[in-house]
């Protein structure tokens, strides 16, 4: 008798856990994942596989037609076997500079976004967990910084202390920490008033336990989606500064400054200004497409933040 109960079909069909909802990417999302992975790989191995160094001026000899005595200009060379994407305004290989620049652009932006998350989430959760006075103080200061245009903050800071890579990272990190703070605070507040946190408090768990075991795991997923979005903003911000000549300084290759340097080559139809611009666009559009897919998957709630 007991056996029949254990093997009754009723129980067999009951799943022991709700089925995991698997993220299904649209075709554009799949393409976007490929593009982003491609750039990440380039950022890691680019400098090792690039045909030339980022600051290497190509020799005129390379472009000389065999047997002729003419030495051609090395600036803004077109596509050839020697330089797959042509050369820039100083006769450096565009392809190599894009490969080196991937590391600079992605590296700086990623570092700045991570810093923004570290500062923003720490303070945001602190504001949500701490008393109303701490919350009011942090929020007021944050609101004030949030209502200054980011590019203005950037210009003021760079005018005052100049532009080096550590300064760029710290500055962009702190500027974007303001947005992260707002999101982390509001997500944190929602969770702090939930029943399960109250239950944990009642059974005597400390604040630290609640933050690490209840709050952080629950804010992780929405924050992870937002991370992609924030990364796009940081990439755009840093490339814009570089484009203004106030970001990454030469001779280092950076996609934003590469567009700026080679702007005069547009008239000759050179690839040097367009290639890095397309590199930025492909990366940022792809990240946004992935975020779009994920937010559509999670019920479209996050889609509002996209705009």
């Amino acid at each position: 008798m007991t056996e029949s109960i254990a093997t009754s079909p009723q129980f067999d069909e009951l799943p022991d856990a709700p089925p995991k909802r698997r993220l299904k990417l649209s075709w554009s999302g799949k393409l976007a994942v490929c593009v982003v992975s491609f750039w990440i790989v380039i950022a890691f191995i680019g400098p090792y596989i690039s045909p030339y160094h980022e600051a290497e001026f190509l020799e005129e000899d390379l472009f000389r037609v065999a047997g002729s005595d003419e030495y051609p200009e090395v600036e803004f060379q077109g596509i050839s076997k020697i330089t797959l994407l042509g050369t820039d305004y100083l006769g450096r290989d565009t392809l190599s500079r894009i490969m080196w620049g991937a590391r600079t652009t992605i590296g700086i932006s990623l570092a700045a976004t991570l810093l923004a998350y570290f500062v923003g989430v720490t303070l945001g959760i602190a504001a949500a967990a701490g008393g109303s006075r701490l919350d009011a103080m942090l929020s007021r200061v944050n609101d004030a910084f949030l209502s200054i245009p980011h590019i203005m903050l950037g210009l003021i800071v760079i005018a005052a202390v100049g532009s080096t890579i550590p300064i760029l990272i710290i500055m962009s990190g702190l500027i974007y920490a303001t947005s992260v703070f707002r999101i982390a605070r509001s997500l944190g507040q929602e969770i702090f008033v939930s029943d399960y946190v109250e239950a944990a408090r009642v059974r005597g768990e400390g604040l630290w336990w609640v933050i690490t075991r209840e709050v952080l795991p629950n804010v992780a997923m929405p924050l992870a989606t937002d991370f992609g979005l924030r990364l796009v903003f940081v990439i755009l911000f840093i490339s814009s500064l570089s484009f203004l000549g106030l970001g990454v300084q030469p001779p280092m290759a950076d996609w934003g400054s590469m567009v700026k340097e080679n702007l005069s080559g547009l008239a000759y139809g050179a690839l040097a200004p367009m290639a890095p611009a397309f590199a930025i666009a492909s990366l940022t559009i792809s990240i946004n497409m992935i975020v779009d897919d994920i937010s559509a998957h999670s019920g479209g709630k996050l889609a509002k933040r996209l705009i």
Binding site: S28, R140, V141, D143, A144, F145, S147, I148, P149, H150, I151, M152, L153, L155, I156, V157, I158, A159, A160, V161, G162, V232, L236, S239, S240, F243, L244, G245, L246, G256, V259, K260, L263, L266, A267, G269, P273, M274, A277, I280, A281, T284, I285, I287, N288, M289, D292, A303, K304, L306, I307
Partner: protein, 316 residues
Amino acid sequence: MMGQMILRRAGIGLATLWVVSVLVFAGTEILPGDVAEVMLGQEATPVALENLREKLGLNKPAPVRYLEWLQDMATADLGMSQAGGTSIDKLIGSRLYNTMLLSAIVAAIAVPVSLILGLLAAMFPGSRLDRIITSATLCLISVPEFFIATLLVLILAIQLNWLPAIAYITEFNSVWQLLRSLAMPILTLCIVIAAQIIRMTRATVLNVMSSPYIEMAILKGVPRKRIILRHALFNAIGPIVNVIALNLAYLVSGVVIVETIFAYPGLAKLMVDGVQTRDMPLVQTCAMIFCTTYVVLIFVADLAAMMSNPRLRHPK
């Protein structure tokens, strides 16, 4: 109640401006050396430095100088540019006018066009038109402003040779000539701003469309067009005005890039040049002008939101 809220909001705006002014002032203090050293350069003897500091009032403690500077700003006594030594209000005058001209034209074109496109997308959600508009604007908001500008120069100025690649502002005989020479910066900014407004308008109207009274209207059998134009649109006006004001505030950042790339003689270009030469008085003034505009526009955006939604007038 309403008046109180407006005052409260204006107070927050003023507080923001105060933070900006402290930040801008602190910027000068971080610089190694002071204005006197920069002005004298090679000729800096200890005596000359001391005299100039006395003259400029640099001997006073920082809080005093901050208050004096704030007073100068408020009374539009902008002081001298460090590079060249010309007075800043002279430098700024025509530049400010140029930037305002550019922004006004952009707003006049971009706002109506993007409202129509945004509404169209919201009227037929999921349609082919909507999909095209949403994905095109998603791409446009994901790329840097200078990418759009570079692409436009490549296509319109170099390939097709229709427009000049640089914005020359000289004597104009007609409005047409003015528009033609400004076409590239205007077009670039319009695209950047329009993409944002379209997305926000669409989201706003769709948000209104999901409210219960619209559902009621649908169940009652009101035609779709009439629901949008008679029921949804009026309730969406407040949020849409909010969206427009917010995006005009975004113009502040867009203008920095666009003026630089097209060498447009505007205020933002002046500021970027000032940052490059580290001409602090100039940067301070420009930053204060831009931030004030931004804060005022955000204030207008908040007011519009409060007007349209009574619930925002009574904070919990």
